[in-house]
Symmetry: C2
Subunit: 878 residues, 2 copies
C-alpha cells in the first residue's frame, strides 16, 4: 500500500524539495529546500505540504491519514542531523513552526517560535547556552506566543503581566528585566492561561508541536487572512504549508542578531543592497516595528565578515532566481543563517525598473520582463504625483515607504477609514503603527502615514503591495488615536483635516496640494513598447470628454470603445433642454427641444472626434431611463418647475409617470430609441454632422455608432435603419464620402444567446459586461452591497464579479455571444467596454475568447496594454 507523501525534509546540504515545488511546499518551504541544495546555510527542518492543509479542511479539520507518522519520522531524522533531541533535558532541540503559502501573505498567518521548551528542557537550554536570561526570555516568548496563537488567549492579557512586573520593579524596557523576572512571568503566564482556557499549559513538546501545526493550518482561514486573499485575488482553496525548522537565536547576545533585506531597492528598483537589522533580537522584533532597526550598511561596519558572507549569498540568490529577492537572516553567535528567500515585493516603479534593468543586464529576456510586472500593480504609476516644481512647507518627514502622492482627509482608525470612504470621502489613514487588523482601512485609504516603524514595517510592506502612497516612521509626529488628532510641535491636525503625503520623498504636508498626471517615460515607456510588440488585443478607452480622450491617447489608447452621451445631457447648459424634451406633450414638442440640443451635442462630438484624429470612436446613443434626468427632491422640483415654466403638478405628474420599480430593467437603452426615435435621430445627426465638418477640415474621423441594450434582432434592424437613413441624409447633404459603422452593445443575456441573429444587422459588438453581470447573476450593483460582503466571506464568490469578470458564468455568455456573432458575420468586430476591460485576469479571458479589443478607463490603458501582452505570452504557441 503506497501512502501519500505529505512531509519534505531539508538539511545538511540536501533537500527533498526544490523551488519548483512552490504549490506543494509553499513559497517559504520550496525556497528553504532550494537554498539548502545550493549549500547556503539554512537551519534544517521539514515542510508539511499544502495538500495536507487542504485535506485537513476537507476532513473536518482532522489530519490526513499518515501525516502523524510522517511528522514523527521526520522529527527523528532532524534529531539525528542535529545531534539533539526534542524534549531532551540535556540537549533539547528547539523548533520554529511557520506558515508558508504559495504566495507570500506577510503577517497574515501564525508562527510559533522556541517550541520544545518546558520547565525541564529550559534547564538544558541554560546549560547549553550558558545564558539563563536568554533561556528564560526564550521560554516566556514561547509560552506567550503559544498562549496567544494556539490557545487563543488575548495577547493583551499576557502583556499586562509583563507591564505589572516592570511597574513593580520600576523599569521601562523588556531589556531591563532579568532571568528571574522572566522565570516568574512564565509561571504567571501559565496560570493566566489556565484561568482563561481551563486547561494546563502543555508541557509535552510533541503536544506543543501538534498544537502549533494545527494553529498554522487554522490561521489560513482567520478573518485577516481571508481579507488579504480577497484583496490580493488569492484563492481560498490553495491552503498553506507548515515549516518546522530548527531554531536559531538572534537574541543570544551582542554577537547575535537578525535582519531582513532586499537585493535591490524595493521602492525605486535601484540596484543596491537594501535592508535593516537589529542585534540581539529575534526576527519578530524587526518586523513589528517596536525597535527601530539599523540600515544594512551599518552591518558592514560592525560585522564585516558576516556582511561579506551575506553579500555573496544575496548575489548568488539573485543570479540563481534571476529576480530581486527578499531575504531574512539570523546571526547566532557570529554564525550566519538564512531563514528565507523569496521574490521581493516591490512598488510598480521598482518592478518596472528591475524588469527592464535585468533585460539590460542580460539576466532575463523581454518576454520574461513583461511577465515580471504585475499588470494590476501598474495602476499605482498611473496616479497623480506632486509636481516636481511645486513649492510647499513640509510639516514632518518620515521614510519614503511607498511612492506617489496622496491627498485626503485625516482619519485615525481603519473602521473610520472604511466609513468615510464609503460615503465618498478621500481619506489618509494615520496610525502610530499599523497591524494586520487595519488591512480593510488601508485598502480604502488614499495613503498611509505612521509615526513608528521602518521601511519593512507592516505599513510599508502592505502599502507597497497595494501600490498606495505611504510615509512610515515619521517620528516627529505624535498620534493620539483616542483624541483623533496628531501633533507636530505646536501644530495639531484633527480628524477631517486635509493633508497631502508625498510617498516618494517621505513628506507630510498640511492642506490639499495640486497633483500632476503621470507620464509614460523611461523604463515604463520601454516596457510598454515591448508589450505592444507582443500583444494581439487592441486597447481602447472609455472616454466622454476631449480631456479624457487625450489622457487615454497619451497612455496609448488606440481608439474610444465607449463614449457615453448621457453625461453630456447632464451638463448645466443643457439639462433643462433635456427636461423640456421629456415634458413635451408630443413628438413635435420633443423635436423642438431636441433641435436645441443638436448644436450642443455636435460640438461635444467634434471635440472628441478631433482629439481622436485617425482613431475609431464608438459613441453610444442615449442609455439611461428618462427619469434620471428629472429632479427628485421636493425643493428641486419646485425650482425646476419654475425654470421650465410648468406647474409643479405637471412636473410631478411626469416624474410619477416615469418612475420605475427596477430602472435597471426598465425603459432605457434601445427601448427609448424604439419609443422615441427622434432622440436617436438627433444624436445620429449630431454625430454625423460633427464628423462631416471635421472631415472637411482634414481630420480623419472614424465614428462607430452604438445601440445600447439590444436584445432582439428586430430592435437592431429598426434602429440601424433609422441610423443609416439619418446618417446618409447628412452625408449626402455634406457632399463628402464618410465611413461609419453601426453596431450594438451586448448586455442583456438574451443578446448573447441570439447573437447570431443580431450579428446579421450589426457591424460590431461591444460587450457591456457591467450590466450583463447584473442580469446574469440577478445582482443589482446598487443594492448588492448588503450581501456581497457575506458572499465573499463565505466563499460563495471568489472575487467581486463587478471587478473581475465571472468567467464561469457571465463568461459563458460572452463566449456564446462572440462565437454566434462571428458565425453569422465573419467580419464582426468584437470588443468589451465594461469596467472589466481594465482588469488583467478579465483581459486574459477576453484575449482567449478572441475579442478584437478591450476598452477601459484612461488611467487603466497601460495596465491593459501589459495585461494583453501577458495574455498573449500565456497563449500556447502552435
Amino acid at each position: 500500500m503506497s501512502t501519500k507523501k505529505y512531509v519534505y525534509f531539508f538539511g545538511g546540504g540536501k533537500a527533498e524539495g526544490s523551488a519548483e515545488m512552490r504549490n506543494l511546499l509553499g513559497g517559504k518551504g520550496a525556497n528553504l529546500a532550494e537554498m539548502t541544495s545550493m549549500e547556503i546555510p539554512v537551519p534544517p527542518g521539514f515542510t508539511i505540504s499544502t495538500e495536507a492543509c487542504i485535506e485537513f479542511y476537507e476532513n473536518e479539520q482532522q489530519w490526513p491519514k499518515g501525516l502523524d507518522n510522517e511528522v514523527k519520522a521526520h522529527l527523528a531524522h532532524l534529531e539525528e542531523v542535529m545531534g539533539a533531541k526534542f524534549g531532551d533535558v540535556e540537549n533539547p532541540l528547539l523548533l520554529s513552526v511557520r506558515s508558508g503559502a504559495r504566495v507570500s501573505m506577510p503577517g497574515m498567518m501564525d508562527t510559533v517560535l522556541n517550541l520544545g521548551l518546558n520547565d525541564q528542557t529550559v534547564k538544558g537550554l541554560i546549560e547549553k547556552s550558558g545564558n539563563e536570561r536568554f533561556a528564560y526570555d526564550s521560554y516566556r516568548r514561547f509560552v506567550q506566543m503559544y498562549g496567544d496563537v494556539v490557545l487563543g488567549v488575548d495577547h493583551h492579557n499576557l502583556e499586562a503581566l509583563i507591564q505589572e512586573t516592570k511597574d513593580r520593579k520600576g523599569v521601562k524596557l523588556d531589556m531591563d528585566l532579568e532571568a528571574s523576572d522572566w522565570k516568574e512571568l512564565v509561571g504567571k503566564f501559565k496560570a493566566m492561561i489556565k484561568e482563561k482556557t481551563g486547561k494546563d499549559f502543555p508541557e509535552d513538546p510533541l503536544e506543543q508541536l501538534y498544537g502549533s501545526i494545527n494553529a498554522v493550518f487554522a490561521s489560513w482561514n482567520n478573518p485577516r487572512a481571508i481579507k488579504y486573499r480577497e484583496i490580493n485575488d488569492i484563492p481560498g482553496h490553495w491552503g498553506t504549508a507548515v515549516n518546522v525548522q530548527v531554531m536559531v537565536f538572534g537574541n543570544m547576545g551582542d554577537d547575535s542578531g537578525t535582519g531582513v533585506a532586499f537585493t535591490r531597492d524595493p521602492a525605486t528598483g535601484e540596484n543596491v543592497f537594501y535592508g535593516e537589522f537589529l542585534m540581539n533580537a529575534q526576527g519578530e522584533d524587526v518586523v513589528a516595528g517596536i525597535r527601530t532597526p539599523q540600515p544594512i550598511a551599518e552591518l558592514k561596519r560592525i560585522k564585516p565578515e558576516i556582511y561579506d558572507e551575506l553579500e555573496a549569498i544575496y548575489k548568488k540568490l539573485e543570479d540563481h532566481y534571476r529576480d530581486m529577492q527578499d531575504i531574512e537572516f539570523t546571526i547566532q553567535e557570529d554564525v550566519l543563517y538564512m531563514l528565507q528567500t523569496r521574490g521581493g515585493k516591490r512598488t510598480a516603479t521598482a518592478a518596472v525598473k528591475i524588469a527592464v534593468d535585468m533585460v539590460d543586464e542580460g539576466l532575463i529576456d523581454k518576454e520574461t520582463a513583461l511577465q515580471r510586472v504585475d499588470a494590476a500593480q501598474l495602476d499605482q504609476l498611473l496616479h497623480p504625483m506632486l509636481d516636481a516644481d511645486a513649492e510647499y512647507d513640509v510639516l514632518a518627514k518620515g521614510l519614503p515607504a511607498s511612492p506617489g502622492a496622496a491627498v485626503g482627509r485625516v482619519v485615525f482608525n481603519a473602521s473610520d477609514a472604511e466609513v468615510w470612504s464609503g460615503r465618498g470621502e478621500k481619506v489618509i489613514l494615520v496610525r502610530t503603527e499599523t497591524s494586520p487588523e487595519d488591512i480593510g482601512g488601508m485598502n480604502v485609504a488614499q495613503g498611509i502615514l505612521t509615526s513608528r516603524g521602518g521601511m519593512t514595517s507592516h505599513a510599508a510592506v502592505v502599502a507597497r503591495g497595494m501600490g498606495k502612497c505611504c510615509v512610515a516612521g515619521a517620528g516627529d509626529i505624535r498620534v493620539s488615536e483616542a483624541e483623533k488628532c496628531f501633533r507636530v510641535g505646536d501644530v495639531t491636525v484633527k480628524e477631517g483635516d486635509w493633508i497631502t503625503l508625498n510617498g516618494t520623498a517621505g513628506e507630510v504636508i498640511v492642506g490639499k496640494m495640486e497633483l500632476v498626471e503621470p507620464k509614460l517615460a523611461g523604463e515604463f515607456g520601454r516596457l510598454m513598447e515591448w508589450a505592444d510588440e507582443v500583444r494581439k488585443l487592441g486597447i481602447r478607452t472609455n472616454a466622454d470628454t476631449p480631456h479624457d480622450a487625450k489622457v487615454a491617447r497619451d497612455f496609448g489608447a488606440e481608439g474610444i470603445g465607449l463614449c457615453r452621451t448621457e453625461h453630456m445631457f447632464f451638463a448645466e447648459d443643457r439639462i433643462n433642454i433635456v427636461r423640456q424634451m421629456i415634458l413635451a406633450e408630443d413628438v413635435e414638442g420633443r423635436r423642438k427641444a431636441l433641435a436645441k440640443l443638436l448644436p450642443i451635442q455636435k460640438a461635444d462630438f467634434k471635440g472628441i472626434l478631433r482629439e481622436m484624429n485617425g482613431l475609431p470612436v464608438t459613441i453610444r446613443l442615449l442609455d439611461p431611463p428618462l427619469h434620471e434626468f428629472l429632479p427628485r427632491e421636493a425643493h428641486t422640483i419646485a425650482e425646476v418647475a419654475k425654470e421650465l415654466g410648468v406647474t409643479e403638478d405637471k412636473l410631478r405628474a411626469k416624474i410619477d409617470s416615469l418612475e420605475e420599480f427596477n430602472p435597471m430593467l426598465g425603459h432605457r437603452g434601445c427601448r427609448l430609441g424604439i419609443t422615441s426615435p427622434e432622440i436617436y435621430e438627433m444624436q445620429v445627426q449630431a454625430i454625423i454632422e460633427a464628423a462631416c465638418e471635421l472631415a472637411k477640415e482634414g481630420v480623419k474621423v472614424l465614428p462607430e455608432i452604438m445601440i445600447p441594450l439590444t436584445g432582439t434582432k428586430k430592435e437592431m434592424s429598426i434602429l440601424k435603419k433609422l441610423t443609416v437613413e439619418t446618417a446618409d441624409k447628412v452625408i449626402e447633404k455634406a457632399g463628402i464620402k464618410l465611413n461609419y459603422l453601426v453596431g450594438t452593445m451586448i448586455e442583456v443575456p438574451r443578446a448573447a444567446l441570439v447573437a447570431d441573429k443580431i450579428a446579421e444587422e450589426a457591424q460590431f459588438f461591444s460587450f457591456g459586461t457591467n450590466d450583463m453581470t447584473q442580469m446574469t447573476y440577478g445582482f443589482s450593483r446598487d443594492d448588492a452591497g448588503t450581501f456581497l460582503g457575506a458572499y465573499l466571506d463565505q466563499g460563495i464568490l471568489e472575487k467581486d464579479p463587478f471587478q473581475s469578470l465571472d468567467q464561469k458564468g457571465v463568461g459563458q455568455l460572452v463566449e456564446i455571444g462572440v462565437k454566434k456573432g462571428r458565425s453569422a458575420n465573419a467580419d464582426l468586430k468584437v470588443g468589451i467596454c465594461g469596467e472589466h476591460g481594465g482588469d488583467p485576469s478579465s483581459i486574459d479571458f477576453f484575449h482567449r475568447v478572441g475579442m478584437n479589443y478591450v476598452s477601459c478607463s484612461p488611467y487603466r490603458v497601460p495596465v491593459a496594454r501589459l495585461a494583453a501582452a501577458q495574455a498573449q505570452l500565456r497563449t500556447p504557441r502552435s
Copy 2:
C-alpha cells in the same frame, strides 16, 4: 424562365388549389377550391396567394413581379367561364374581393363587394337584372364600401348623406329609398369622396380591382388586425390571401337571400344544424347585426328545396372535413351558392363535446379528438358558473351567445373597459352592438352584453372565440352610451353598477351573484382521461393554500410544484411578527420573533400537506426582499410603529436601510438565507415538523424543500447543509422515517449556465421562468408596460414573453439548464413553476426539452393536461 405562380383559379368543377393549400391560399381560398372540386356550387373566381402579400410587404408595398400579368390572365379566364366581361356595358361581370388568412380573423380585414360598377356598367346591370333599384343599391354599396375601405373616407360621412336623404323624404329605413334616391346618392358619395381625397372616384373597373386588392393586402396590418393577432397568437409574417370571386346577389328580391350556419351548435356542441339567414340581403347585413335574422329552421318552411340542398351540402362538408363547419351561402333568384366553408369557431364546451361525439360517431379517433380542442380555450370551462339551484330575478333576456357566467361592474365603451380593468376592476362591457374597434375592451371584460345582433353577430362570435360569457341581442334593454347607462322598463343601470350575466341561459341579473366552481365531468372528463393516457409530462400546480390545493387536485394536479411561503407572512395575524423579526437588532431578537412564527407556519404547511396526501409538495423558502413586509405610506408607518412599540424614527430608519434601487435584483431569495440563515432554519423546521406530525397520523407526505434564486453551487451547498441538518434533527426527534428532497429554483441566467455544478448539490430543479424572462431580456415586468405595447406593435416581440415563453432566447437557457443539470445528476427531477406552466405553446416546449413536469395555477391544470397530451402527439415517433 420560370416565373413564380401567385394566382390560383377555381370554377366550373375544377380548381388549381385544395384544402391542403391553406397556408398558401388562406383558409377561405383553400376551401373555395376544395368545394369547387367537390362539385358544390361555388361562384367561380381566383385566389391571390399569401406569398404575394408577404412579398408585397417585403417589397415596400409593391406587387411582386408577374402578379399583374397573372391577375389579368385569370380575370380573362373568369370572363370566359362566366360569358361576361369585367367593365362591359352590356353584360358586366361583377366581382367581390375578400381577404383570407391561414386562420379565420372574422371582421378584422377588409372586403369590397359589387366591384366593376360605374356609371356605364350599372346600366348593363339594370338591363341584365331588370331591377333598377337593385342595381343602384348595389352601385351605391360599392361606392360606399370602396370609399371607406380603399380610399379611407370615414363611413360616417357617407352614412350621414343617406340619413339626409331619408330625413328629406321623411322615411326611416334603407328599404324605403327608391332607385332614384340611390342613384342620386351615388353622385353625392362621389362628390364627398372627391372633396375628402382630392381625387375623382375611379371609374375604371381594373383600377377598382387593383385598388381593392391593395386595400386587402394593407388591411393585414390595420390596427385591429394586429390587435386580433396579438390576442390570438397569430404571427404577423403569415400575410393574407385575396379572393376575387364573381358576385352573387342575395339582394335581388324575395327569391334571394343570404345566410350563415354551423353544422353543429357552436355554443353547446349539440349535433343540430344551426344558423340564421335574411332574405333580400347581402352577407354583410347578417353579420353586422343591423337587421335581426331568422333562424335557419325558418328556411325549411319558406324554401324547402333550397333547405334540402343546403342540408345535403352541409352533411357532405362535415363528412369530408370530419369537423364541424361554419358555412356561408347566398341564394340568388332561387339558386343556392356556397361562399365559404371553414372549421367553425366554437366554445370550449362545444369543442369538447364535438370532439368526443365525433369519436363516438366513428368520424375521428381519440388522438384526433385531443388535437381538435384548443388547450388554451379550455380555460373558459374552468371559470365559475351560476349555481344551477340559485334563485334570482332576471332583469332582461337575450341570446345565450357564449356560455358561462360573469360578474362585474358595467362600463359602456371599450376604452373605459380597459381603463377600469387596468386598475383592477372586473367589468361587463355593455354596448348596443360591438364592432371590431371594441376588441381591446372585450378582451379585458368579464362578459359582454349587447342589445342588438344575433348568435352570429360580432359580439357573439368574438366572445365565443375568447371563451368569454356573452348575452347578445337583449332587445329589452336600451343602451345609452352617451349617458353611460342602460334601461329596462323603469330600471336604470348606471356605469359602475354591478350586474351578473348568465351566458348559458342568456340572462341579465342586477347585482353580484355567487358563482360556483366548474367540474370535470361528462365529455370533458372523458377527454381529460384520454389526455392522461397519452401525455408523458407530469402536471402540478402552484398553490399556497389548502383551498387552492384542493381545487387543483380536483382538476387532476399530481402534486404542488410551487408553494410560496411569503403569502403566509403577509396574513394579518403574523405580519407584525414578521416586522418584529426584521426590526430585531441581532440574531437573538430575530430568533425570538421567528419562534412565534414557527407554530403558525407549521399549521399552514400541515393544511397543505394534508390536502395533498400521497402527492409531492414543493415548498419554496422565503423569496421576496424584506422591505416588502414593511409599511410604505406615512400614516401606516406611524400606526405600525405604535403597534410594534418602536419609535417611528427607528421604523423609518429600517425602511430606509432596506430600500433598494432594483428590488428584483436585490437582497432576496437565497441571499436572505445566506445572510439570515435563521429564517430558513425556522421554515425548514416548520415544514418538517408538520410533515412528521402528519406522517404519524398516517398521512402520506412528500415534502420537497426549494431554495429560491440560486446562482452558484456554493449557495446551494451552504443552504442544503442548513436544510438537511435542521430537517434531520427534527426527524430524529420525531423518531420516524421521512423522505424529503432539497432542490432549487433555476431563475437567474447564471444558474442555467452553471446548472451542472448546482445539480451536484440539488435533487431537483424548478425553472422560474418569470424571473428568468425578466433577467434574460432585462425587462422588469412591473415597468415593461411602457414599451411592451410598442414592441408588439412593431413586431419586435411576437408575443408577450411573460405570457408565452420566449423559446428562442430564454428557452436556450432552459435547455442548457436541463441538459447540464442532467449531465451532472442523471436522477435530477426537472420542472417549471413560472406562469408559462399553464401556456400550451410553452408546455409543448417544456415537453420537448424533457422536463418531468410543469406546474401551473389550479384553474389551468386541465389546460396543461391537454396541452401535454398534444405535445406528446406532436412528438415524432421513432
